[in-house]
């Protein structure tokens, strides 16, 4: 996805100004001229200057050639429903994992996570669930048993091994 430099510039300008306003509320270090506001303040000024340059450049490019520098252009994948789905599922499974893993437990979450990804990437259905289960168990063994990472058991708590 191509977003015009001017749009990026506007976003960064907003961020820069917001930070500049926010750091004004930081306290000073007692007896010193510099405090916690100095460093992010300087960065915010720098970011705002860069943002203004980006805006200027983006607008100039857009004026020169609307075709080459539109405000927003979809990448080739955005016109292909299969790829849009793959993109959304790739992000979606992670959100799903973050939200549910503590309640559902690592093993069921991992199996669903992988099965969904295998499905959108086009792994044959016959192998899908078996593969997802094996990989999840291997990762669980490596991290839970060998590296002692406390992966949550969730609904499988009473069968924990």
């Amino acid at each position: 996805m191509k977003i015009n430099d001017a749009v990026w510039g506007a976003l960064f300008l907003l961020l820069g100004v917001a930070i500049l306003v926010h750091v004004q509320s930081f306290p000073a270090m007692s007896g010193q001229k510099v405090g916690p506001a100095l460093f992010p303040g300087v960065i915010a000024v720098g970011l705002s200057v860069c943002a203004l340059l980006l805006i200027a450049r983006g607008i100039a490019a857009h004026r020169q050639d609307r075709e080459q520098a539109p405000w927003l252009a979809a990448g080739p994948w955005m016109r292909s429903p299969r790829h849009v789905l793959a993109f959304l599922v790739t992000i979606g499974v992670n959100v799903f994992y973050i939200l549910i893993v503590d309640r559902l437990g690592f093993i069921p979450t991992g199996v669903i996570y992988l099965a969904l990804l295998f499905a959108v990437f086009g792994v044959r259905l016959r192998n899908n669930l078996v593969l997802a289960l094996i990989v999840t168990l291997v990762i669980h063994y490596a991290f839970y048993k060998l590296l002692k990472v406390p992966l949550p058991w969730g609904v499988l708590q009473s069968w924990a091994w």
Binding site: I19, V34, P36, S80, N94
Partner: protein, 500 residues
């Protein structure tokens, strides 16, 4: 001195350490040989595992895996015209042209032998220059460090992109991320918005896993034109003719090694840029430049050795100053801090055995690369058969668990995801990610030295130029900032003069 070396040998030749190096070799070769998986990604994936190891084995794992990955990246480039890692991209067309001429064994052999040679050369430079630099750096105060970090960050912006403005934006975003949390001289909670997880700052490791692995998987998910991975070319004896090549191109090998090490040592630029630059140099100074691109081995000899020497070169500023030479050492610095091996000149005086062990690791990694690499070329057909549709989801679940494992908090998985999506969109729009990484790694150091210097000098900016080394570093930094602008202005004036 000799006692420290003896300790270093004991650390490195420990059976556990050797085992780690063997496993890391296989991992590195695999990651390098599969297109879409990079050496930096290999490092990021290793961190959660090294987290549970002693310092030397964890460094051993990273050194070995990256050296192997950079070489193995040549294999699919040569056989299928798909570079296994970006560091092989510069000469992929050349190597593939050689394969079509039936010279695949020579192309792969040159990649392997001169990669190992380049790695050893870079290691030699590391061994000779790092202690001397460390000696020099012992005299540095906060003023010198402030300029040094700023100079490093500036280099990163100008080297890694042809569009410095976008590089600057990327750097500033990285510095902003670094200023989140309590980790500032005043220990004031900045940008935490009442979130307890953010008090400790944004986790560097989950962020890097996101930026280097998740973004790559997203790119795979939206790739509308994936290439089929089929190898049908037979490969003969890859070592045949290597000695003749060494005798034919001694200057090219030396130049590739030297330029590669230097580019590696410059902050922000690593193996991939070293390969592009040396390939261009090789063509520019060749006696037969017309043969380049038609399956001519000269450029592969030079740039194939450069990308591996860059790998070692990047460790020089990383170990001496804590300033990463490339994105791999940016992750390494995070690991060193976790292991209480804080980079800096005192690392050389207080614990020399650890530094000597790092030298030894590099030498061993580059030596075992030759038999391992030879074997990897033999089985490359099988490696390339592993379907990426299966591999990518598995890697992503591994990333999730790895990010979680650093602090055992699901918050780090969120950090990983956000960083990955952000890196995906920024890169798609021409914002380089390397400056952002350097900003995150060096933000704390930059601020600390800035604030300390300001307090020492009571806010006088001139104090930043009063010590001789600080003044020269400062002048260099300002020169890098303003010379390009000045030159462009002069060129414009000259152009107008001529037109009139």
């Amino acid at each position: 001195m000799s006692l420290a070396w003896a300790q270093a040998f004991a650390l490195v030749f420990d059976p556990y350490n050797i085992f780690v190096m063997l496993v890391a070799s296989l991992f590195g070769l695999f990651v390098g040989a599969v297109p879409g998986l990079t050496a930096t990604m290999a490092t990021a994936l290793l961190v959660p595992v090294t987290f549970f190891m002693a310092p030397i084995p964890s460094i051993a794992a990273i050194v070995t895996a990256t050296a192997m990955a950079i070489f193995a990246g040549d294999i699919p480039g040569c056989l299928m015209r798909m570079p296994g890692t970006p560091a092989s991209a510069a000469y992929t067309d050349e190597a593939y042209a050689m394969t079509r001429k039936g010279l695949a064994d020579t192309a792969l052999g040159a990649g392997l032998v001169f990669s190992a040679l380049g790695g050893l050369f870079g290691t030699a430079v590391l061994m000779l220059s790092a202690p001397a630099l460390a000696d020099f750096a012992l005299r540095f105060s906060s003023f010198e460090y402030f300029w040094l970090v700023l100079l490093g960050l500036t280099c990163a912006v100008f080297i890694t992109s042809d569009r410095p403005l976008k590089g600057f934006v990327s750097l500033l975003l990285g510095l902003l991320v670094a200023s989140v949390g309590l980790g500032n001289p005043a220990a004031f909670p900045r940008f935490t918005f009442g979130n307890i997880e953010l008090l400790g700052g944004i986790g560097m490791i989950p962020m890097m896993i996101g930026m280097f692995a998740i973004s790559e998987i997203l790119r795979f998910a939206v790739d509308t034109n994936p290439q089929l991975m089929i190898v049908d070319k037979p490969i003969g004896n890859v070592f045949k003719g290597m000695w003749e090549l060494t005798k034919k191109y001694p200057l090219q090998i030396l130049r590739g090694n030297a330029v590669g090490t230097l580019i590696g040592a410059l902050p922000g630029a690593g193996a991939d840029i070293a390969a592009w630059v040396t390939y261009a140099i090789s063509k520019r100074f060749s006696k037969e430049p017309e043969k380049f691109g038609t399956g001519h081995v000269e450029g592969i000899v030079e740039s194939g050795s450069a990308n591996n020497s860059a790998l070692a070169g990047a460790w020089i500023p990383a170990l001496v100053f804590g300033i990463p030479g490339d994105s791999i050492t940016a992750i390494v610095i995070g690991v060193l801090y976790m292991k209480n091996m804080n980079p800096g000149p005192t690392l050389f005086t207080n614990n020399p055995q650890n530094i000597y062990a790092v030298y030894l690791l590099f030498i061993i990694a580059n030596l075992i690369m030759i038999p391992f690499g030879w074997w990897c070329i033999k089985v490359s057909k099988q490696i390339l058969k592993v379907p990426r549709t299966v591999l990518m989801p598995v890697i992503m679940l591994f990333c999730v668990v790895g990010s979680f494992a650093i602090n055992n908090t699901p918050f780090d998985v969120t950090v990983m995801l956000v960083a990955g999506v952000a890196a995906f969109f920024l890169e798609a729009n021409g914002f380089p990610v390397a400056p952002a990484i350097l900003g995150v790694v060096l933000g704390g150091m930059l601020e600390e030295n800035l604030v300390t210097s300001m307090i020492k000098s009571d806010g006088r900016l001139l104090a930043f130029f009063e010590r001789p080394i600080a003044a020269s570093l400062g002048a260099m930094t300002l020169a890098v900032w303003f010379l390009p602008l000045l030159l462009r202005r002069l060129r414009q004036l000259a152009g107008i003069g001529r037109a009139a």
